[in-house]
Amino acid sequence: MFASVVAALCLAATTTEEALMWASGGIVLGWGGLGAALLLKQRSMWLLQRVVIVGWVALWPLAVLLLFAFGGVPTAQWGGFYLNLLVTAVAAMGALPVGLALALARRGPYRVLRWAATGYIEVTRGLPLIVVLILSWLAVQRFLPSLLGLNTVGLLPRLLTAYILFTAVYVAVAITGGLNGLPRGQAEACKALGMSGTQSLRLVLLPQAFRRALPSLAGELIDLLMSSTLISVLGLTEMLAAARATTEQPAFFGRQKEVLLFVGLLFWIVAFTLSRLSRRLERRLSGGSGIGER
């Protein structure tokens, strides 16, 4: 929750646009909600899972809607650390369900889906993020069907989509790892009790797999924050780019070190907060359950 507060402060400080406030509010709420739900007691599991799943599903289009629909602010004008946090939060939020879907498709009963998911994961894993970002910028411009107006989609939404699709692969790998790490007896116990495949995944296998995947998921989140600086390559003024621009102004000549130090500190604070939070979450989730204990 601490992180949400920090994030909210950062967001409030970097933008005055009302619409942006709403969008960021939604995102922070989404994350806060997820965190709170996960920290809840075990007893309320059924409710919890429903809340989390419905929450994710509902918040995602909401966030998109807010991003796309607010009046007047061209995305090219967004800037600063807010942009880094926005990219990180939106990509993480989107990558979770997409990654989960990929992981499930890959181990599911449908051969076509299995192949598609595996192919997508293997191909994307071999690409550097920057290539995917440039692709979303260049190629997509040309090839997206104009009839849907998709080729007019702004740069930022396209980049966010690229981040999501890229990160989803690593989420899928983490979840797959978590699932594969479970003892065979867990799935067998579910079967022996007469549970369907979906029931055992939802109630027994995935909750445990998520716990096991949490450390790598947290690592991905921090990676994501760091790689959010890459959008500067495509002309958006995120924090690092802003810093560089700043040091080029006469008033800041000779002060590169201080500016960069400040930027570094900012990233470090957020990354550190995230990693502490994930540690807390891990410990909380393994509390009394014997999973993920070292």
């Binding site: 075990q42 007896g185 867990q186 067998e188 009790l193 007469g194 549970m195 027994v204 359950s289």
Partner: protein
């Protein structure tokens, strides 16, 4: 379709196997098992390690699909076409050597999960059921404990309560005490003994010969995927006819 619907008259045995074979790839694990188990019967399966006792039990709820032959559970034939195999499984409890409790759930939730999800039992009813079952296995004070907070014997008793919560028609025990020390073994066997006394159909693989002698109506001696000898415990364990049985008993006793 008649295969899938239990016949109305109670004339059929609870479990019937006819010439059941199981191949693991090129390994011939079950080699023609023919046996029939009546409702209320307590059958104990003994035999050397690797004789396919587990494979046999796991074939009975299709955790391991058999390769050929017929298996009928309470009038339902198990094969690749069995519609809704999980409905058959819901009627057969299974207790594993390694307990396989759900580590992220409390004892109570381990017990209530399947009744609520599979049987659609209301939460309050499932809760009351969990309380009474956990009390029955002597764990009334551990309802809110997680598996990691329980001893092996306690975990195995929760696992038995979990299986009982589905009100199964038969229960399969695959070496339920092999991972336990003598004290905990006693606790668990006491629970199994009680089930046997209540008329539950039980198929138990175990290395506990004393226990087999005591609870079994019939003992099956397995060797190399076949039933070498079967009969009342006093006969199979006391005065075996087969040389292989004698050799096995000489080793374990």
């Amino acid at each position: 379709m008649t295969d899938a619907t239990p016949t109305a008259e109670a004339a059929h045995p609870m479990i019937t196997c006819t010439d059941v074979h199981k191949w693991y790839g090129t390994y011939h694990a079950l080699r023609g098992i023919t046996v029939s188990i009546e409702a209320g019967e307590v059958v104990v399966v003994v035999g050397p390690s690797g004789s396919a006792k587990s494979t046999f039990l796991r074939a009975l709820n299709r955790l391991e699909p058999h390769t050929s032959g017929e298996i009928w559970i309470d009038g339902v034939r198990l094969d690749a076409h069995t519609p809704k195999i999980h409905r058959v499984r819901a009627e057969i409890g299974m207790v594993f050597q390694q307990y396989n409790l759900f580590p992220h759930l409390s004892a109570r939730d381990n017990v209530t999960l399947a009744p609520r999800q599979v049987r659609k039992m209301p939460a309050a009813e499932a809760d009351a059921l969990a309380v009474s079952l956990l009390e029955r296995v002597g764990l009334g004070d551990k309802i809110n404990s997680f598996p990691s907070e329980l001893s092996g014997g306690q975990q195995q008793r929760v696992a038995i309560a979990r299986a009982l919560a589905m009100s199964p028609k038969a229960m399969l025990f695959d070496e339920p005490t092999s991972a336990l020390d003598p004290e905990m073994t006693r606790e668990v066997l006491a629970v199994v003994r009680e089930l046997a006394g209540e008329g539950m159909t039980l198929v138990i693989a175990t290395h506990e010969m004393g226990f087999a002698r005591e609870v079994a109506d019939r003992v099956l001696f397995f060797d190399e995927g076949q039933i070498v000898e079967q009969g009342p415990p006093a006969q199979v364990l006391g005065s075996p006819r087969e040389e292989r049985t004698r050799r096995f008993l000489a080793q374990v006793l």
